[in-house]
């Protein structure tokens, strides 16, 4: 196979991996601090992309902003809306249900996701249709033989990687990150040490959901098209990546995300006719890995919970 095409497929896998990782990290954060699965996470990705589209579109139309400023407005709106949704879901659905069986939180957040999704479909004009996302990043291609990649794609991958690394540094190096880790390790002791547990939980929900919303904005910029139900499968993939990587750790979901993307890309490269089975193969690999590593590739006992 042409080396340029191989490089391009590697880049495709890298891009998908970054997106999956950003979603998976959120799942791991929520599970780490509160032992809950927030199943509306995929729909928060969608909320982020639609908020970015709305804010960039409206601000661009009203003030004729240059693309860079419109992008910043869009990103701010996406992260803001995502973080707010995370806080609302955490405050209204998750914290009050803390003592209840975990299945209740799972169901409640699943329903919250449906509410978000349907609100987007019904609230956005012609919300059932896919929506074009404006090209706000510099255009132009980097060509090298049969390898060609958009400058915008490179920016998106770099931004995604930086954000994932930034989240890791935030959790491991800052005072608030220390609080998150303290609550994750032992919430009783954390409370005795004077840590405001509710603040930490809501802060974690804001952080994880803001990250997902940022991923949603990146998805829009990359695919130039968003739709109200795009978060459903992404949420499941993010969750699967987090579980296989090690739910509760930070590095695990990143490994899981890249693993899932790698398998998907490999299936298509190996045989075009098997393209329809790429998700089947990827999820089958996840099942096998879960059987081999029940607590994830980065096993919880050997990793520090977030």
């Amino acid at each position: 196979m042409d080396i340029g095409i191989v490089a391009q497929q590697l880049f495709n896998g890298l891009m998908l991996g970054v997106i999956y990782s950003m979603i998976a990290v959120g799942f791991s954060l929520f599970f780490g601090v509160l032992d809950v699965i927030k199943f509306s996470h995929g729909d928060v990705v969608t909320l982020g992309s639609f908020s970015a589209l709305g804010a960039a579109g409206v601000s661009g139309a009203l003030f004729a902003l240059p693309p860079a400023l419109a992008l910043l407005t869009g990103l701010a709106a996406a992260v803001g809306a995502g973080a707010l949704a995370g806080i609302v879901i955490g405050r209204i659905l998750v914290i009050p249900l803390r003592g209840a069986p975990s299945i209740n939180v799972l169901l409640a957040t699943l329903m919250a996701g449906t509410v978000l999704r349907e609100a987007i479909r019904l609230g956005v004009p012609n919300g059932g249709n896919p929506k074009p996302f404006p090209a706000l990043l510099p255009s132009g291609m980097i060509n090298a033989g049969s390898f060609s990649v958009g400058i915008d794609s490179v920016i998106i991958v770099c931004a995604g990687l930086l954000l994932v690394v930034g989240t890791h540094l935030f959790v491991t190096r800052t005072r608030f990150g220390l609080s998150i880790r303290a609550v994750a390790q032992d919430d009783e002791v954390a409370r005795l040490a004077g840590i405001d547990q509710q603040r930490v939980v809501l802060g974690t929900f804001a952080l994880g959901s803001g990250l997902a919303a940022f991923a949603g904005c990146m998805l829009g910029l990359y695919y130039r098209e968003i739709s109200f139900n795009m978060g459903v499968l992404l949420g499941i993939i993010g969750f699967a990546s987090a579980v296989v990587g090690g739910l509760g750790s930070l590095i695990g979901p990143i490994i899981g995300g890249f693993l899932f993307a790698g398998v998907q890309t490999l299936v298509v490269v190996a045989m075009p006719i098997s393209s329809a089975y790429r998700d089947v193969v990827a999820f089958a690999v996840i099942i096998i890995l879960i059987a081999l590593f029940p607590t994830g590739i980065i096993a919880e006992q050997r990793s520090e919970r977030v």
């Binding site: 196979m1 095409i5 495709n12 479909r121 012609n126 059932g128 249709n129 896919p130 139900n229 790429r278």
Partner: protein, 388 residues
């Protein structure tokens, strides 16, 4: 004597009631019809267009003083999912007050529900699904279809595209009955027309990322990518082609020929070719009148490409009910014999499988609109299609 008095009293009472208007005089019977289509999800744009068009047909009929019945439309959402489709089809068919149905845009749903309609004896007229098996794969006298099939579209697509000089093809189709059927008929006719398919990619209808497939396609250097799927698939492919650097021409069947594709793909939609069993609405005799009435009715959404077929299906059913009364069996028998019925979409003639006989047409996306090929600047050689 007492009896006569009572009768007199009753007669007087009735006369007073009529004179004061408390009893309706010759009240029209209400007859229910079902509309079923995708009203939510990625294919809701054509579904809502079909619903609005059917609603318009019912409104116009109810406003007609010469109509014998008042028609009431029961609207159901099949979400373009076969399992949901069977649920709502059963709901409609088991409700004996519903006399007939204007049913289904998505082929996967259309084929899944035929048994249900046959079992409950509910006559239906399909308004958008184009899988041939819906009418040709059974002998259910309840199933009729006003729009054409993918056989017409596939044949025309193969002949037209090879004539334009496209010889090397890649097919990307979804794995529903719809996508598989499109692939089957297009491939068969393409072979006869002299084209070559270098690769076929069956994909999930919900798949979002196509960069791996498109990178593989880039390596194969086809002249044209044929989309056998609906709008979401078409939009995603078109949007991602540029990103990977694929310069091939894009063509798709009527599943992408709607406003949703043009809006979703934006400027990149320009030059995309599509094939549809209907002619442009303004080319039909009653086309302008339909558009005027549609605008006057104040619907927020477009009728979309299949709206006129839904409208025609509804008028065909209502005319049958007007003739034979609200009786499922009689309506079915009358619909079965439809010949030379003048409708919005031209003359409707059902063959022995109750399939309307139509020919397909070519369209091209030009300046954000689907333009009838003979009227386009591409046909006039003012603009050029992509050819590697």
């Amino acid at each position: 004597m007492k009896l006569i008095n009572k009768l007199l009293l009753l007669t007087c009472g009735a006369l007073v009631a009529v004179a004061t208007g408390t009893v309706p005089v010759l009240a029209k019977e209400t007859v229910k019809l079902a509309f079923i289509g995708p009203l939510s999800g990625g294919n809701s744009a054509p579904g809502i267009g079909g619903r609005n068009s059917t609603q318009l047909a019912v409104q116009l009929r109810n406003a007609d003083p010469s109509a014998k019945y008042i028609f009431e439309l029961v609207t159901l959402d099949d979400e373009c999912k076969p399992n949901i489709g069977i649920q709502v089809a059963t709901k409609a068919a088991s409700d004996r007050s519903i006399i007939a149905g204007v049913t289904h845009y998505c082929s996967a749903v259309g084929i899944a529900t035929v048994d249900t309609y046959a079992r409950f004896g509910l006559p239906v007229v399909v308004w958008g699904a184009i899988l041939p098996e819906i009418t040709y794969g059974n002998d259910y006298h309840e199933i009729h279809r006003v729009n054409g099939t993918m056989i017409n579209e596939g044949k025309l697509a193969a002949e037209f595209l090879t004539k334009q000089g496209f010889l090397k093809y890649v097919v990307v189709h979804d794995t529903t009955d719809y996508g598989k059927g499109q692939n089957k008929y297009f491939s068969e006719y393409l072979k006869l027309a002299g084209g070559e398919i270098v690769a076929t990619f069956p994909v999930s209808p919900d798949q979002q990322d196509f960069t791996a497939e498109l990178t593989k396609i880039k390596e194969l250097k086809p002249d044209l990518i044929m989309v056998g799927g609906l709008t979401p698939l078409g939009v995603r492919l078109r949007a991602q082609m540029d990103r990977v650097g694929v310069t091939a021409q894009l063509a798709g069947v009527s599943g992408i020929m709607n406003a949703g594709f043009l809006e979703g793909a934006g400027a990149a939609a320009e030059g995309t070719i599509s094939f549809h069993n209907g002619a442009p609405i303004t080319k039909y005799e009653q086309g302008q009148a339909f558009l005027d009435a549609y605008a006057k009715a104040g619907f927020r959404e477009d009728p979309d490409a299949y709206g006129p077929f839904a409208y025609s299906a509804a008028t065909l059913i209502m005319d049958a009910i007007e003739k034979v009364g609200p009786d499922r069996a009689k309506v079915k028998d009358l619909l079965n014999t439809t010949k030379a019925y003048k409708s919005l979409v031209g003359e409707i003639n059902f063959d022995d499988h109750r399939q309307n006989i139509l020919r397909a047409n070519v369209y091209v996306a030009q300046d954000g609109k689907w333009v009838y090929w003979p009227d386009s600047e591409y046909a006039a050689s003012k603009r050029k299609l992509r050819l590697n």
